[in-house]
C-alpha cells in the first residue's frame, strides 16, 4: 500500500476527559481521574474507502470521529488528512480543513436547525467560506442527494420533511464544499428500514462519483457488512480487532468480536439464534483494570492478561488483533 493512497492517517490517538470530583476530594487527593474515551488507536483510511468503526455504546467510536475532525481537542496523538497535520492547524487553518472534511450526525431530527429553511441550511457553509454562487450550488447539491426538483425544497423547513429527506439535507450540506472525507456517525440508525437502503445507496454514489472516503461509525454489524470495506472493533477506547468486514464476521479472532458476532440476531428463523457468549456489561471507563481491558469479561483470560496490555498485531494478512491468545 503506497502512502499516496492513504487519505486519513491516525496514530496513537488519545482523548481523555477529566472527571470532575467534589471539592473535598480535590483537597485530600491530588490524583486526577480520567475517562479514557479513546486510549491510543492507530489506523489508516484509504482513498474511496468506507472504514467502519464498530462497538457498543461508550466504546469511544463517536469521540474518535469528533477528535479526528477536531470538533474535540485531542489529548495526544497525530492525525493527518492527506499531507496536512490536523492537530497542528490554527483556528483559521481549521476553517480550511472544514472544506475537506465533514460530518453527518446520527439524528436528522436533531441536527437540522428547525428555524432555518433548507436553502439557508445547505448554503451556510458557502456563506461561511465566502464562496458565493449559492443558488446554483445548493440546487446541484440537492439534486445530487435526489431531492428534486430542488426549488421545491428551498423554502421548506425541517418539520415539513420526513426523516429520510432530512438526512438527505444533512448530507447535501456535508458535501456542498466537495469534501474528500466524511465522518458518518450512525447516519441511518434513526431511520426506518425502507428508508435506510436509499441513504446508504446515496453514500455509495457519492463515494463512486466524487471519490469521497468515509469513517462510518456504527453499533450495527449487519449494516457495517453492507457498507464498510474494512471494520475495526473498539472496546473501551482501544481497538480489539481490525480487518475486512467480511473476514471480521466470518472469522472473528478476538474473544470480544466473537461474542459480538454471536450476539447479533439473524433475520432468518431457520438460522442460528443469537447467543450469549460473555456475561456482564461494559464496565466504567474510569479506573480501567491493568493489563487487557477485556480481561474481566473474557472467558479465556490468562495470567499474562492481568499484567500486560496486548498490542494490536497483524496475525494474518490484513487482519490485526489485540489479544494474548494470538
Amino acid at each position: 500500500m503506497s502512502s499516496e493512497e492513504i487519505i486519513v492517517r491516525v496514530r496513537n490517538l488519545r482523548k481523555w476527559f477529566p472527571v470532575r470530583t467534589g471539592l473535598l476530594h480535590g483537597l485530600i487527593s491530588r490524583e486526577k481521574r480520567y475517562v479514557k474515551a479513546v486510549d491510543g488507536i492507530s489506523f489508516d483510511i484509504k482513498k474511496r474507502e468506507i472504514y467502519g468503526l464498530a462497538g457498543e455504546s461508550g466504546c469511544g467510536k463517536t469521540t474518535t470521529g469528533r477528535v479526528i475532525l477536531r470538533l474535540l481537542e485531542p489529548t495526544a496523538g497525530e492525525v493527518h488528512l492527506g499531507k496536512q497535520d490536523v492537530f497542528a492547524l490554527t483556528k483559521r487553518e481549521l476553517n480550511e480543513l472544514r472544506k475537506r472534511a465533514q460530518i453527518i450526525f446520527q439524528d436528522p431530527y436533531e441536527s437540522l436547525d428547525p428555524k432555518m429553511n433548507i436553502f439557508d441550511f445547505v448554503a451556510e457553509p458557502l456563506v461561511v467560506h465566502k464562496i458565493g454562487n449559492e443558488e446554483e450550488l445548493v440546487a446541484n447539491a440537492l439534486k445530487t442527494v435526489e431531492l428534486t426538483p430542488p426549488e421545491e425544497f428551498f423554502y421548506r423547513f425541517p418539520h415539513e420533511l420526513s426523516g429520510g429527506q432530512r438526512q438527505r439535507v444533512a448530507i447535501a450540506r456535508a458535501m456542498i464544499l466537495n469534501p474528500e472525507f466524511i465522518v458518518a456517525d450512525e447516519p441511518v440508525s434513526m431511520l426506518d428500514v425502507s428508508i435506510r437502503s436509499s441513504i446508504l445507496k446515496l453514500m455509495f454514489k457519492l463515494r463512486d462519483e466524487m471519490g469521497i472516503s468515509y469513517l462510518y461509525i456504527t453499533h450495527d454489524l449487519a449494516t457495517a457488512r453492507q457498507v464498510c470495506d474494512r471494520t475495526a472493533i473498539m472496546y473501551l477506547g482501544k481497538f480489539a480487532e481490525e480487518t475486512t468486514t467480511e473476514e471480521l464476521l466470518k472469522n472473528p479472532l478476538h474473544p470480544y468480536t466473537k461474542a459480538l458476532v454471536a450476539a447479533v440476531p439473524v433475520p432468518d428463523p431457520t438460522a442460528r439464534k443469537s447467543k450469549v457468549v460473555i456475561s456482564g456489561e461494559i464496565p466504567s471507563p474510569i479506573d480501567l483494570p491493568p493489563g487487557c481491558r477485556f480481561r474481566p469479561r473474557c472467558p479465556y483470560a490468562m495470567e499474562i492478561c492481568k499484567r500486560e496490555e496486548p498490542s494490536l498485531v497483524e496475525v494474518e494478512s490484513n487482519h490485526k488483533v489485540a489479544c494474548h491468545l494470538m
Binding site: S197, Q226, V264, E281
Partner: protein, 316 residues
C-alpha cells in the same frame, strides 16, 4: 387465547381523524409468540394499547372485538378489566420503561407496589414474590433493595420484565423490549424472554421494527403498514416466502451478518399520512406491482395458504 377482530382505533386531532389502527385482526394461541413488525407510525403500539385498554383520551375504538378467552374486552367495564385482566392476565413491557423506573424508590418496592395494587396479599409475601421474580429474570434477589441508578441498563430491563410478570399473566406484550440496548445485552434479554416463554408457558406479542429480533424469538409474525396488517403467517413463511410486496421489500432490505450479502433495493417513497391515506390499497403508491384495481379498491386480507394471510390484489 387472544382473538382480535376488525379492530379500528382512530385518534382525533385538529387535522382530522388519524386512522392509526384500521381493521386489524390477529389471533394468538396459547404459547404463541407473535412478532408485530412495521415502520414507525404504522400502528403497532396503538394496537397494543387498544388491547390493554390504555389509550390516551383522544383515541377512540370505533369497532371490533378483542376476545380474551371468551370475554370481549371492549364490552366489559373498566373496573372489571382492571381487576381481572390488566396486569393479572395480560401485561405490557412499555418501550423505554427501563428509563421510567422511579429514581427515588427501591426497584423491589416498585415491583411490590405493582403486586399490591392488583392482589390482596400481605406485604411480606409480596416481597417474597419480588425476590422470586428477581431470580426468575436472572438478578440476585439481594439487589431488590437497590435503587434504579445502581442497576445497569440490562438489569433495569430485567427488572421491568420482572414487573410485567408480577401477577403471573398469560400474555405479555413487549413493545420494543431490546431497542435501546447494546447487542450483547440485547442477546441476554432475548435469551431470557425465550426461556421465560418456555418455562412459564407465556404467550407473547413482540412489537418491534427489527425483523431479526422477531426471527430470533417468535413463531408467528404480522407485518403492519399504515394502520393495516398486510401479511401474517408463521415465521418461516414470512421470512422464506413473503407474499406481500411490502413484506418482500422489508426483508430484501434488512441487513444480515450471515448469508448472502444483500444489495440495496430501497422501497421508493415514504409511508402515507394516516389522516388521508391513499385510496385503494394503502401501499399502492410505493408498490412496484400496482395495478388499476389497487388504486381503487382496498384489498381484503385473505388466507392464501393454510395460516398465511395476505392483503394484496395481484396475489389473490
Amino acid at each position: 387465547m387472544l382473538d382480535v377482530q376488525n379492530l379500528k382505533t382512530y385518534f382525533t386531532t385538529r387535522g382530522g381523524a388519524v386512522k392509526a389502527v384500521d381493521d386489524v385482526s390477529l389471533q394468538l394461541d396459547k404459547g404463541d409468540a407473535l412478532g408485530l413488525a412495521g415502520e414507525s407510525g404504522c400502528g403497532k403500539t396503538t394496537t397494543a394499547l387498544t388491547i390493554m385498554h390504555l389509550l390516551p383520551s383522544n383515541a377512540e375504538v370505533l369497532s371490533g372485538k378483542i376476545l380474551f378467552g371468551d370475554v370481549d374486552l371492549l364490552t366489559i367495564d373498566e373496573e372489571r378489566l382492571r381487576k381481572e385482566f390488566r396486569w393479572k392476565r395480560m401485561s405490557m413491557i412499555f418501550q423505554g420503561a427501563m428509563n421510567a423506573l422511579n429514581p427515588v424508590f427501591r426497584v423491589g418496592d416498585q415491583i411490590r407496589q405493582a403486586i399490591l395494587t392488583h392482589e390482596d396479599i400481605a406485604k411480606a409475601s409480596a416481597w417474597e414474590r419480588v425476590e422470586e421474580l428477581f431470580s426468575l429474570v436472572g438478578i440476585n434477589p439481594d439487589r431488590a433493595r437497590d435503587y434504579p441508578h445502581e442497576f445497569s441498563g440490562g438489569m433495569k430491563q430485567r427488572a421491568i420484565i420482572a414487573m410485567s410478570l408480577a401477577c403471573n399473566p398469560d400474555l405479555v406484550i413487549a413493545d420494543e423490549p431490546v431497542t435501546a440496548l447494546d447487542v450483547i445485552v440485547q442477546a441476554q434479554i432475548l435469551e431470557l424472554m425465550r426461556s421465560l416463554r418456555e418455562k412459564l408457558g407465556l404467550s407473547m406479542i413482540m412489537i418491534t421494527h427489527d425483523l431479526s429480533v422477531i426471527a430470533d424469538t417468535c413463531n408467528k409474525a404480522a407485518i403492519m403498514y399504515a394502520g393495516k396488517i398486510v401479511e401474517r403467517a408463521d415465521i418461516v413463511a414470512i421470512f422464506k416466502h413473503p407474499e406481500h410486496p411490502y413484506t418482500q421489500g422489508l426483508i430484501a432490505n434488512f441487513p444480515s451478518i450471515s448469508g448472502e450479502k444483500k444489495g440495496f433495493e430501497p422501497i421508493s417513497g415514504s409511508p402515507p399520512n394516516l389522516i388521508s391515506p391513499p385510496a385503494g390499497c394503502r401501499f399502492h403508491p410505493r408498490c412496484p406491482y400496482a395495478e388499476e384495481i389497487c388504486r381503487k379498491e382496498e384489498p381484503e386480507i385473505v388466507e392464501i395458504k393454510r395460516g398465511h394471510f395476505v392483503a394484496c390484489h395481484p396475489k389473490k
